[in-house]
């Protein structure tokens, strides 16, 4: 049974409790303190040390009846794709699909090559540069030896990839992930993905009936590009790009056959030319 998140952005109030709970539970360090001047969004984006990000979108438009404004909030997270670009790209096998169907990075196996970073069509994964010596990185089944290995891997250079684990450690103990537990409005719902999908579709029907015709699901069904469904999917009130989500994401590995084929054609061509040049009298 795959578990995941249904993030219903119509219920999000932008309190950032999910961000805080995630940082606390996973002992992720601060990203520094800065004001972007962009609404209430000072987190900016998901990163190796930020695994939930509440996006604020202010839509203000002049209409004949005056000014119409709308404030969209959405808690973004790793999508835990059915076919995950990062998982396919990882050359060490550090990125695995665990027993909960989540895409999980084993920090002690990761070698920091950064190939997953460029292979995520959603721009989620990033390298953790340094944990600054004080913070530790708690993950992986709460097994001490494993934790020690993780910490050792990080202590030397930092430089391993980081992203949402879907609270692998909490799930093994039968607990709900920290963000979903902390969400005061049930905007973040955790559970069996199949059940969540049904619930999400009912919710869209309800919203449409109430006149919220722009309500749409993102990733509950096949999202295209070879990625399949998302275990962490969203209910949005506007087009995905408004929330900084790709409208047409593509699984990077689907481009491999074309690449190897093109290289092979050129290789054979150059070999024939070379043979003609080198073996001619």
């Amino acid at each position: 049974m795959a578990t995941g998140f249904f993030t219903d952005t119509t219920l999000c109030i932008g309190c950032k409790a999910c961000e805080v709970a995630c940082k606390q539970w996973n002992e992720l360090p601060s990203d520094g303190f800065s004001f972007t001047g962009d609404s209430y969004d000072n987190t900016v984006e998901l990163s190796g040390t930020t695994w939930r990000h509440v996006a604020f979108v202010e839509q203000i438009a002049a209409t004949p009846d005056g000014v119409e404004d709308r404030w969209l909030m959405s808690s973004d997270v790793c999508k835990h794709c059915e076919n995950a670009g990062c998982l396919e790209a990882c050359p060490t096998g550090a990125i695995i699909r665990n027993e909960f169907g989540s895409v999980y990075i084993q920090p002690d196996v990761c070698n920091g090559c950064g190939y997953c970073v460029v292979s995520c069509p959603f721009g989620v994964v990033d390298l953790i540069d340094s944990l600054g010596g004080t913070a530790k990185y708690s993950t992986a089944n709460l097994q001490e030896s494993r934790l020690d290995a993780s910490k050792t891997a990080l202590a030397h250079t930092g430089g391993v990839a980081g992203k949402c684990t879907l609270c692998y450690d909490r799930q093994t103990l039968g607990m709900v992930p920290a963000c979903a537990k902390a969400c005061p409005t049930d905007s973040i719902q955790f559970g069996d993905v199949a059940t969540l999908r049904e619930r999400a579709k009912e919710r869209v029907t309800t919203l449409h009936a109430r006149g919220e015709t722009s309500a749409q699901l993102y990733g509950a069904d096949d999202i295209g590009g070879g990625i399949g469904t998302l275990n962490a999917f969203f209910l949005l009130k506007d087009r995905p790009s408004v929330y900084n989500l790709p409208e047409r994401p593509v699984l990077p590995s689907t481009r491999q056959p074309d690449g190897y084929a093109a290289a092979a054609v050129i290789a054979v061509g150059l070999a024939i030319a070379g043979w003609a040049i080198f073996r001619s009298a």
Partner: protein, 303 residues
């Protein structure tokens, strides 16, 4: 404000990865040259020996360059615990390891044949490894392109055919340039005539591929062809690294130049080609970083 937010993460790759890709391409090209050399011909036998030694040396320095990117030596071994066909990084590293083995064995045979090593060591490598090194070389050079094109970075993804094709032709041209350069140094001028001809073909193919990429890539290609890096790319790769060396090599084929002048011509043409090959890889990497920051091309990704 939302329009300025990046959607994708930029690659963390710098000069060491650029060098790794550049040398990977040369290694691949050298694999082809050592196969093409007819050992019955004295100058070709010398060229084969030179390219085999050079290819093994390059294969030997590439893992340390990769390690300088990873941070610690044992991190390289993390990639040796698994073979993953869907990961270009995984199959590429295995290709590199196998190539090193073939190149190393061929080098030992070469040195045994020329008396540097004991003569019984010539049995160290079966003749099939000559062909194997060429095939593995083609793979190594091609993979340096697929490594980029099989990602979400819009510029690289848009070049899913062009970047691997340009990588392998640029690798072949650079390998010919290196072979010419080394041949001039050891006084094997006859070999240069052939390596320079092949270099002209490879460079012309590379040029055509890059021009076609510019034509078809549209908005996805802008960070490479219109961005702040475009001028360096045009000057050092397209003109300095392709057009000028082709002209110089053509000159060498047509005009009966005096030997010292001809040697100087070869050196200049080869160095320019190698420089152009490096800047091609650098342009791929650096404009890939710029491309990842362009929100619009990340929203609608190349298929």
């Amino acid at each position: 404000m939302n329009d300025e937010k990046p959607l994708l993460k930029a690659p963390h790759w710098g000069a060491n990865v650029t060098t790794y890709l550049f040398l990977g391409g040369i290694m691949g090209g050298l694999g082809l040259i050592q196969l093409l050399c007819d050992p019955r011909d004295e100058s070709m036998r010398k060229l084969r020996r030179t390219t085999r030694i050079a290819s093994f040396l390059l294969a030997a320095v590439n893992p340390p360059i990769l390690i300088s990117h990873l941070g610690r030596p044992e991190r390289f071994l993390h990639m040796m615990r698994i073979v993953k066909l869907k990961s270009p990084m995984s199959v590429g590293v295995w290709g590199l390891v196998l190539y090193s083995g073939a190149a190393g064995a061929n080098m030992v045979r070469e040195l045994a044949q020329s008396g540097v090593l004991p003569s019984w060591m010539r049995h160290f490598a079966p003749h099939a490894l000559t062909f194997a090194q060429a095939v593995l070389g083609a793979f190594t050079a091609g993979y340096t392109g697929v490594l980029l094109s099989a990602t979400a970075v819009p510029l690289w993804a848009a070049g899913k055919r062009h970047i691997p094709a340009a990588s392998i032709s640029s690798g072949a041209a650079s390998a010919c340039a290196l072979a010419s350069l080394l041949s001039v140094i050891e006084g094997n001028h006859e070999a240069c005539v052939k390596t320079e001809r092949l270099e002209m073909v490879a460079s012309a193919v590379e040029f055509a591929i890059l021009m076609d990429f510019r034509r078809v890539s549209g908005d996805y290609g802008k960070p490479m062809f219109e961005g702040p890096r475009a001028e360096k790319f045009r000057t050092v790769t397209l003109i300095g690294g392709i057009a000028v060396p082709i002209a110089l090599n053509l000159l060498g084929q047509i005009l009966p130049l005096p030997k010292p002048v001809d040697a100087a011509r070869t050196v200049v043409a080869s160095v320019l080609t190698l420089l152009g090959g490096y800047v091609l890889r650098e342009t791929f990497i650096e404009s890939g970083k710029a491309s990842a920051a362009v929100r619009q091309t990340a929203i609608s990704q190349p298929t």
